[in-house]
Amino acid sequence: MNVLVILIPVSLILGGIGLVAFLWTVRSDQYDDAQGNAARILLDDDER
């Protein structure tokens, strides 16, 4: 069971990284135009 000593912190840290990444996306306005972002990937931006 000693493996738990490693596995539990690892799972918490990985989850924490996910949380911090999400908070960063919220702070940097990435949810302001969800539909637009979904559509923009279809745009061919070469000529700009």
Partner: protein
Amino acid sequence: MTAACPACAAMPPVEDVVSDPALQFSLPTIHCAACIGKIERGLARMPGIGHVRVNLSLKRLSVEGHVDATRVQAALTDLGFEAYPLDMAALTNTRDDEGRKLLTRMAVAGFAMMNVMLLSVAVWSGAEDATRDLFHLISALITLPVVAYAGQPFYKNAWSALQVGRLNMDVPISLAIALAAGMSLFETLNSGEHAYFDAAVALTFFLLIGRYMDHQTRSAARSAAKELTALEVHTAEKVTDNGTETTPVSSLAVGDRVLVPSGARVPVDGTLTSGNGLMDRSFLTGESAAVPVAAGDLLQAGEINLAAPFTLEATAVGEDTTLRRIAALVETAENSRNSYTRMADKAAQFYAPAVHLLALFAFVMWMFIDGDLRHAINVAIAVLIITCPCALGLAVPAVSTAAISRLFSEGFLVKHASALERLAEVTHVVLDKTGTLTRPAAMVPEAMTAGERGVAKALAQASHHPLSRALLEQLTDTTAAPLSDIREVAGQGVEGMWGDTPVRLGRGHWLEAHFDGLGLRIGTDTAHQIEAPETLRDGVTDALAQIDLPCEVLTGDSEGPAQALAKHLSLPVTARARPEDKLARLDALAAQGERVLMIGDGLNDTAALASAHASIAPAVALEASRNAADVVILKEDFAALPLVLKVARATRDLSKQNFNIATIYNLFSIPLALAGFATPLAAALAMSISSITVLLNSQRMRRVK
């Protein structure tokens, strides 16, 4: 956010960094990637443009650079998109801080839920003794700070309800979260077998989803109201000793002289001081014909100047203008609407006491059966968690969020949170004519030569009269002839010189012709008559055919145009209806038990819009009318109108279905919980499955056609 990319280096650097504030436009008709690309590329080619960005979710465009708003608007129209400039001052603080906080709390709760579940699964699958205690302890370390932080919106609401001696849904929610966390901590410290940490965080997480959606619905309504205010630019041209200066309408005082450019709305009540004018009063009276006025006449705020610019002296400003007084009347009528109890609130009134009583009953019952306080509290908590209105907290917000975004993508702004529920109950539809169903049109006679068309276009371009605008729509392919000395004669028409020939576009008798209506005369030739029938707005016929409710038209216009419309649409039409008559008709219908939907745009409709059970106004309507309406149509086209009713009904049906789903889950799980069989696993499953079912069911809104 714009990551460095290889292509960016190749872009020419934007010279003299733009200092002007960004211009904002409402673009109700955009819907896809192609629209974004077309607009952003199309505008980028305009000289002086800095940064162009389309926001598809808000259907809004922001443009930076040294450019004129009217030029951008013209360019957008050329690209084939309807565009309306928005007033920047009214759009300030568009960032939704409360929504962000909720989203952050939701993320924290979600993170905690996943980690606690991970540990709980191990316990459920058989971890024992020291391992189980360790897992419970780690769960407690994660759960306690998380529920203390993420659950704050519920605690605050519950506390403010308790302070005034009332119960709301947040009271049982807060109680369940607090008791579950507290009791689990006690169990953990005493090496107990069951801990409900996972249930406490899962409850917080699912309820925060519901809270976030509810917030989205409300903030959509609020930003809709803001956008509507922003559609109107609140400035006026004040005449001073050295020319004119642009000032906010709110700072005008009685006695100020104000310049009203042609095509603009009169900002305040006042008397005309210079020359003659021609006013469009259809917003105030419903009359489609323009009204000539002379110096000394009283003008009311909201009228539109159709002829040459004039000045007026303000006699009433701010709250004293006729427009504001009517708006104030409307607010009184609105208050009765705000007292409408929404479905979710009705459910909460019944549900909150029931949940408490049931938990109390479970506690008392088990105290009698085995007298074990710890067991009795555990059962009571299980009952609270399971009956806790997880699905009920989601049932309505999930559906109305889906409905409002569905309607927004079709060009409808829903302004009132309870609007959809009221629209679903509508049994009778009353429509206004001028400006709502119809708009002026002009028919260019076949006999006109290309040269004559060019002259007509050049003359029409000089005027803001609705007929001139309508004529221009028919002459889009024609090149305007080079004219000189163009001059508008108020109440008559426009004249100018085409080389050496005098040309006139205007009323028949002014052209010395034998007809009354609009005509064009070149030199001494016989005048051409231009037929100007009122035409129906696009999609009106289709929309009316699809609405399955009795419809009728009330108009302030005279018999002639009213009867023509009645014949065309085969609907009952009442002509010469004054605002009081419209209101009286609505009251009469309401007295018969009908729930009336009013659709109108003018100030003469405003009282009716506010007192009707539900109301819809087009975006071009006067501000007061838009404020009184529940739903605003942003597009020119009316064809999607029946969709509003369909979506509203679907909202009601899906909300009821969701309530039923939640109730069925409770019917199964409450007896289990009461009997003491509800393990933490069962509680977590019951809660998650019912919440997810409700969320999925709400997505059926997308299929409503």
